[in-house]
């Protein structure tokens, strides 16, 4: 009786199984190696919440990228290098073509993964952080510090300060204090500030704050003695609200303080209460849920109850929107890679690298994505793995972040030579021959 099931039926079953398997093969895997616990959990949960929501929105609204469904798996790194490496090793082979790329949201983990990603052919994307000299794509073909790196941001910040002082020539003789988190992240901008101090004639004092930064009495007394015109706050985590409260105690006006984008989120200023009013911060993405892309996420993900953020009011916050930008970059890179290597097919690491290196999001594309004004346009190339370089400035009014400037471009005449010098030093140390961009496609 069972044999009479018939050849046709067996063939049908086999076809179904094959189709099922083929369907399972048409997926693009994205590892989500982030942090939801620990002292930086507010940032990590916000960013990865936005990232995952955007991916789910693209799946729900468009069915993936040209029919290729996007899958992901979360892995907790706790902002710890060893955990980050372990998560990377565990997830790099998942999915039919392996991991598409990895965004660790941690400078330390990025550094640890550079050699491994280069050997495994998995691009490492460090949007707004990471190894700044990887902007030179000739030495770092697999590392993409996209949109804006720390040095570019710093030059834009000096331009902003100059605009408040009345022009770049008015910077001469002014005093600027760089209050930085005493870590690898914090020290990154010291050389570029020194270079600009020499160029524009202002005096810069670098004052470190030991991790985690909830004791800053000594530093702010020193700042009161110096009487600077501006203070750049390069903080992280609890250092930020502590700095704002200490500034209020010492009587330093907060509207003469400019923070980096890891000091410029709601979680950084709300704990400081009224002390934070007037504080400026740099950003490569804005806050607010009044953008078409956020509205689409709410429509396709939250109304169905599949949103990542348990606290719905966090949708549209700075960190959340940053995660959405990460998602946009990932999806557009996949789309760009598919244009060349085959629409509707999952992309390998090499193909994703090509996609990232030829990413071109212009104003028209931004409008289609619903992200006009939300993020800047991006044009990546072999020489330039940064692709953007512009920064907007926000000001906290006690309730929300208001955008107070348009996109301010960075000063690449200062930044680029320093990047190329640093990258060349790395290449010599590691014995890497820089690529010849003219020869590549």
């Amino acid at each position: 009786m069972s044999l009479r099931f018939g050849k046709a039926a067996w063939l049908g079953l086999a076809a179904l199984a094959a189709a099922g398997a083929a369907h399972a093969q048409n997926e693009q895997f994205i590892p989500m190696a982030g942090y939801w616990v620990g002292p930086y959990a507010a940032g990590g949960s916000g960013v990865f919440g936005g990232y995952i929501d955007y991916i789910n929105m693209v799946n729900a609204r468009d069915g993936g990228v040209n029919g290729v469904k996007l899958t992901y798996e979360k892995c907790e790194t706790e902002y710890n290098n060893a955990r980050g490496v372990e998560c990377y090793e565990r997830l790099k082979k998942d999915g039919p073509t392996g991991a598409s790329l990895i965004m660790p949201l941690s400078t330390g983990i990025t550094y640890s993964l550079i050699d491994k990603g280069t050997a495994d052919h998995i691009p490492i994307v460090s949007i707004g952080y990471g190894r700044t000299d990887a902007s030179d794509g000739r030495v770092f073909p697999w590392v993409f510090p996209l949109i804006t790196n720390y040095w570019s941001q710093n030059t834009a910040k000096i331009k902003f300060i100059a605009s408040k002082e009345g022009g770049l020539d008015k910077l001469k003789g002014k005093k600027i204090v760089n209050l930085y988190h005493d870590s690898a992240y914090g020290k990154e901008t010291i050389p570029v500030l020194d270079a600009q101090a020499k160029k524009y004639g202002f005096e810069v004092t670098h004052i470190p704050v030991a991790h985690p930064g909830n004791e800053q009495q000594a530093q702010w007394l020193q700042i009161r003695q110096i009487k600077p015109d501006w203070v750049i706050l390069r903080g992280w985590g609890v250092m930020n609200p502590t700095a704002l409260k200490a500034a209020a105690k010492v009587g330093f006006p907060r509207n003469k303080m400019v923070g980096v984008w890891w000091s410029g989120a709601e979680e950084d200023v709300i704990p400081a209460g009224d002390a934070a009013k007037g504080f400026y911060a740099a950003a490569f993405n804005v806050s607010g849920s009044n953008y078409p892309v956020i509205k689409e996420i709410e429509k396709f993900v939250y109304t169905k109850g599949k949103g990542e953020m348990e606290d719905r009011s966090r949708v549209g916050s700075i960190y959340y929107n940053r995660g959405v930008v990460f998602g946009i970059v990932t999806v557009e890179a996949i789309r760009t890679a598919q244009e060349r290597y085959g629409k509707g097919k999952p992309m390998t690491g090499d193909q994703m690298r090509w996609g990232l290196e030829h990413l071109n999001i212009d104003d028209k594309e931004l409008k289609k994505l619903g992200a006009t004004g939300f993020m800047q346009g991006l044009k990546v190339s072999c020489m330039d793995h940064e692709g953007g370089g512009a920064v907007k400035f926000l000001q906290w009014d006690g309730k929300k972040w208001n955008t107070v400037t348009d996109w301010i471009a960075s000063d690449q005449s200062i930044v680029r030579p320093m990047i190329e010098e640093s990258a060349a030093k790395y290449a010599k140390e590691k014995g890497i021959t820089p690529r010849d961009c003219a020869k590549e496609g």
């Binding site: 939801w36 616990v37 620990g38 959990a41 949960s45 990865f48 798996e73 979360k74 892995c75 907790e76 706790e78 710890n80 290098n81 060893a82 955990r83 490496v85 372990e86 090793e89 565990r90 790099k92 082979k93 400078t107 330390g108 550094y111 640890s112 550079i114 050699d115 491994k116 190894r131 700044t132 005493d182 870590s183 690898a184 992240y185 020290k187 990154e188 010291i190 050389p191 030991a210 991790h211 990542e308 348990e310 640093s422 790395y426 140390e429 590691k430």
Partner: protein
């Protein structure tokens, strides 16, 4: 019954003084070493198995950190378990080893990599002796605080003085490629074998040391240092030797951590929580036991991974979405509970449990 040593007679002193006098132990150790050195790499090279099991992940993400942390736990066990000098500065000594190895490789042209590791251990030993000087005057909890000073000072010094990280703008340094006797150690298998070889040699040295005069002096100091002094054991030399040897092991572990595991080093990666982690390893594994260092390291390295994989499996099979961060918080809770459990029920840790099992195996299946 299985573990009986009846019938195993020793006919000379050398046989009597063996590290593993019982034949079953010797067989087990040889089998383990053969499996570790030959079996695992051969399995990794078999094409069929390599498809089913992701060996690179197991090497790079599990075995290598397990071996490195075992070495660090061994170092701490010598200091805290055998000599009784509680130390919270383990991660600092690892940091010294890592940065010293990097600087030796960088500044001395043509320095062989193994030599760099040994010299890095030596530098860590010197630093250990310096920070071990307080142990001559204070003990117990107060000594722990003095080693805490070592932990913070070393990390601060490595961040503050750019010379240690070759003036890199971010303070993060990339470890150089390892080459031993002309062979490049670039694949996970080769790194695993290198780390395994170093750990085996150092573990054997440790096992010998703790059996000999030095080890007995340490245990005397641990049990009652005044009585030890009265009996004639040179206290200063014994305590400083403990610090030196322990820091040497931690320094070599730190150098391997940077070169063979992470590939990059930054001072922030050697913070206090790493010191505590290694302390937890020896508490759970067993203070004052070489085997305990390995068991504790295996436990602490594998438990978070095991919990993570179980959580993923549960999520997949039941279609749930567990709250993010649940697994991490659960890991911390479990560690805390286990520390309390082990300290109250079995202060000598997993190694003691293994010893009790061996005792029972001598009689099994006859319970009396």
């Amino acid at each position: 019954m299985l573990y009986r040593e009846t019938g195993q007679f020793k006919t000379d002193y050398a046989a009597d003084q063996q590290l593993f006098p019982i034949r079953q132990d010797r067989v087990a150790i040889v089998a383990l070493l053969v499996f570790a050195f030959a079996g695992v790499p051969l399995a990794a090279a078999t094409p069929g198995l390599a498809v089913a099991i992701d060996f690179n992940y197991w090497f790079s993400g599990v075995l290598i950190p397990f071996l490195i942390f075992s070495l660090a736990a061994l170092g701490l066990n010598i200091l805290t378990g055998y000599a009784g000098l509680l130390s919270l500065g383990t991660a600092a000594f690892m940091a010294v080893g890592a940065f010293a190895a990097y600087n030796f490789e960088l500044r001395v042209p043509g320095m062989p990599m193994l030599m760099s590791f040994i010299l890095a251990g030596g530098v860590a030993a010197v630093v250990g002796i310096v920070f071990g000087l307080p142990s001559l005057r204070i003990r117990g909890f107060y000594l722990a605080v003095a080693t805490l000073a070592a932990q913070f000072f070393v990390v601060w010094a490595l961040t503050k003085f750019g010379w240690f990280s070759n003036y890199s703008t971010s303070g993060v340094i990339t470890a150089q490629k390892i080459a031993v006797f002309g062979w490049a150690i670039d694949t996970p298998v080769k790194r695993y074998l290198l780390v395994l070889a170093i750990v085996c040699v150092l573990a054997l040295a440790a096992k010998n040391m703790v059996r000999g005069a030095a080890g007995r002096a340490w245990m005397a100091v641990r049990d009652m240092d005044v009585a030890a002094q009265v009996v004639g054991i040179p206290i200063m030399r014994t305590k400083l030797l403990a610090f030196a040897i322990s820091s040497f092991y931690c320094g070599v572990a730190g150098a391997l951590y940077a070169f063979a595991y992470l590939g990059t080093v930054e001072p922030a990666g050697f913070e206090l929580d790493l010191s505590f982690r290694i302390l937890f390893m020896i508490i759970i594994g067993g203070v004052g036991s070489i085997l305990g260092s390995f068991l504790g390291a295996a436990f602490i390295v594998l438990l978070p991974i095991f919990l993570d994989l179980s959580a993923n499996a549960i999520e997949r099979s039941f279609g749930l979405t567990l709250p993010s961060g649940l697994v991490s918080n659960l890991t911390l809770i479990i560690f805390g509970a286990l520390i309390v459990f082990f300290l109250s029920v079995e202060p000598l840790g997993l190694a003691r449990l293994w010893q009790i099992a061996k005792e029972k195996l001598r009689l099994w299946p006859f319970p009396h």
